[in-house]
Symmetry: C2
Subunit: 440 residues, 2 copies
């Protein structure tokens, strides 16, 4: 085997893993960086080491706050976790903009999640259907030990049916479940139910036909949950919009911009990406799974055969109305929502919401973010807002001193920021300073 091939890595301590990395892949400084990000309290670090396999350090993402979010008549300070500069500022700006107009109305349409047993059946479909109907109610009873806890919390199995998908793939059927998982994300609950049910089928089928007829291929929750959806709206009289001299022109431009995202996939994808900038920041902060949310949202955007914007804007009488429907399956119980100290703090900051309330908040932040992005685009453009952060990043990379950073920020207050210009100005500054030092 190759000299860099390693066995038993997962069993080593963090320190030994880092030593090994330093032998093969990292400079001493890089290794020290990993160690320097361990939490100062070993017990806290141990909690974080339990969240994933082969941890060597903690990746930092800024834990930020966007205050002044008025959602369903309640004022929130929203925890947001994102590495992208200007996202939190944009959310906070949108929150403030919509506050005097009553903020955001956000409502869970349903929390129904799905899961499937995917199987091949190589005999008469009627025979499979008969088997399924014969055992269905018995299986629901047999599952009680797994469902009773969830039922107490208001969730459970809502429906289960056999679906014939042989028009898509030969012999392909699913046992298709719909669930309510109360305040939990429900992954473990759903997958356990599916695996149990599939086991029952494999055990019992031989009494109905040849074991060869039935091949269970997979049993797994789906991240496509188009029913599990939130609808969020913001509304304001056009006259009262604080957007400069011509609010009617502004409102028309906003509607046009949203329409462009509806019809043009190049714009629609980016438009929805802006929505997810907001949604994911809340999803991450509360310990939820952003890959699940992303997959569900974009697939929903493509549900009608053409990828389109998730949000829209319209003029309704004298008002500007923003609206969005977003599939969003979040939990406030299970996963790392309660065990990650910062996720727990984020949930506390939101008043320890139910899963539904959290979905309403995240969707509102998504629409706010979307509004802010489109607002910037149709007014001063996106770059002006980005420039301060861009400059900051360039200066960090050039290891500018705090003094130099202050000077350059002043210089670029009204100038366009590009790497070369910043480099030139910094070099000029440093030269003149050296000159000063020599002449002093």
């Amino acid at each position: 085997m190759h000299e860099k091939f390693v066995e038993g890595f997962s069993k080593w301590t963090k320190a030994r893993k880092i030593d090994w990395l330093a032998r093969h892949y990292l400079s001493p400084a890089g290794a020290e960086t990993l160690r320097s990000y361990w939490h100062r309290d070993p017990a806290t670090q141990e909690i974080h080491d339990g969240f994933a396999e082969n941890p060597v350090s903690n990746f930092y993402l800024p834990f930020s706050v966007a205050p002044n979010f008025l959602i369903n008549d309640k004022v929130y300070a929203v925890p947001m976790v994102t590495e992208e500069s200007s996202v939190v500022a944009a959310a906070a700006k949108a929150a403030k903009f919509w506050f005097p107009h009553g903020g955001f109305r956000s409502r869970v349409i349903s929390k129904i999640k799905t899961g499937h047993i995917h199987l091949l059946y190589r005999n008469d479909p009627e025979k499979l259907k008969a088997f399924f109907e014969a055992v269905k109610h018995e299986y629901l009873r047999r599952l009680k030990p797994f469902t009773e806890n969830m039922e107490k919390r208001g969730g459970g199995i809502l429906s289960v049916e056999l679906e014939d998908l042989t028009h898509l793939l030969p012999n392909y059927f699913t046992v298709s479940f719909r669930f309510d998982t109360a305040d939990s994300m429900g992954a473990n609950f759903i997958n356990t139910i599916l695996e149990e049910w599939a086991d029952y089928m494999e055990e019992d089928y031989p009494a109905y036909g040849s074991p060869e007829d039935l091949e269970i291929v997979m049993r797994i929750l789906s991240n496509y949950n188009p029913e599990c959806r939130v609808k969020v709206t913001a509304r304001a009289p056009v006259e009262k919009l604080k957007v400069g001299e011509n609010p009617h022109r502004y409102a028309r431009r906003l509607v046009t911009a949203m329409d462009m995202a509806r019809v043009n996939v190049y714009r629609g994808v980016t438009h929805n990406k802006g929505i997810m900038n907001g949604v994911d920041a809340v999803v991450l902060a509360t310990g939820n799974d952003f890959r699940a949310v992303e997959a569900g949202a974009h697939a929903y955007a493509a549900r009608k055969g053409k990828y389109t914007a998730l949000s829209s804007a319209r003029l309704e009488g004298d008002s500007l109305v923003l609206e969005m429907e977003l599939p969003l399956a979040l939990g406030t119980v299970g996963g790392v929502t309660k065990t990650h100290p910062l996720a727990a703090a984020a949930l506390e900051m939101l008043g320890n919401p139910s899963a539904g309330e959290l979905m309403e908040i995240a969707a509102a932040v998504g629409l706010a973010q979307n509004f802010s992005a489109v607002h910037s685009l149709i007014t001063e453009g996106i770059q002006k807002g980005h420039m301060k952060m861009h400059l900051n990043n360039i200066l960090l990379q050039m290891q500018a001193t705090p003094e130099e950073r202050a000077a350059l920020t002043e210089i670029f207050k009204d100038r366009k920021v590009h790497v070369k210009a910043v480099k030139d100005e910094l070099n000029r500054l440093r030269k003149s300073k050296n000159h000063d030092n020599r002449t002093a």
Copy 2:
């Protein structure tokens, strides 16, 4: 205004922000949690405070390592950042599985990115086309101060054309650009070019017609970059697959499972979510923007009018072949890639790759993750792998001592984990221990 409405929040120090949160939204313990996650070195903390607005703390995500990744004949230890347990273990397992078969072949198809000026033109389209052709080359020259640095690094503007989209929306045109942004993500470069070009048009058009004809609505990069794509493959003789007694049956099941994801959106979304579990972990670790990657990938999955799986499997002669094409626009320069000390360490761990090499690595990890997930699904099911982490989370939440955790881990070695069963066992253990203490 509402008592919780706040002005000037962004200008406060972290400490003051947290005090305010503690007054309105957080318990003293919650506030202390936020403070306790500050980096012990104030200078390092200051770097992180510069990455987003209104930071109050650092959100921890496990920074993990998946060793043994053989990609294009090079062995990598891949940095992965994810909150989802079992993702890193699955990646490491897949890396080890494919290592003896030559690992992964991964190849950038192109790195072409797109951006657009979205405009309304309320006059004869021919007139706009004439204007565009008249100024195009002059504008490319005028942009030199903005492009010369990028051109030195091998990038620049590849093409620019006017697109008539009036069939989608009245008066809708775009000026459509294609870029190569070398090793950078290129957002600032692209947006700056677009804003400059749009400014030139607005300045110059009045010499060609009424200023009222032309309304520039937006100028912005697109996250839909279907040309900017990586193709990754893994291949092995079926006979040599280490998958138990019947590798041919296994290979057939794997192909069937991948086919199911191709035809059934409920499975396809989840299948792709598994791919993104791997991709995003690398994207996050290297300081790239996962919302951009997610949006582009899922929209690409829906490009033919029906959402489908990004990867596929087939039998080719005696071999099992896995394959995936994934749009993926990553950078190793710009954004926080170099300024975030852990992103810098992650890039160092990968040998400071070019943007293209990083794209190849991330795509390979995505396919590895996908393989591992489908492998689990068609063999023992997903729950078994999750159970250890699930148990760990439940025990953390119940504040089990290390001693209790060891005991419960032993008890649930071969038992199904659900919250109630764990609670029952823990209570039994605690009772018997109290009993022991009393009788001791």
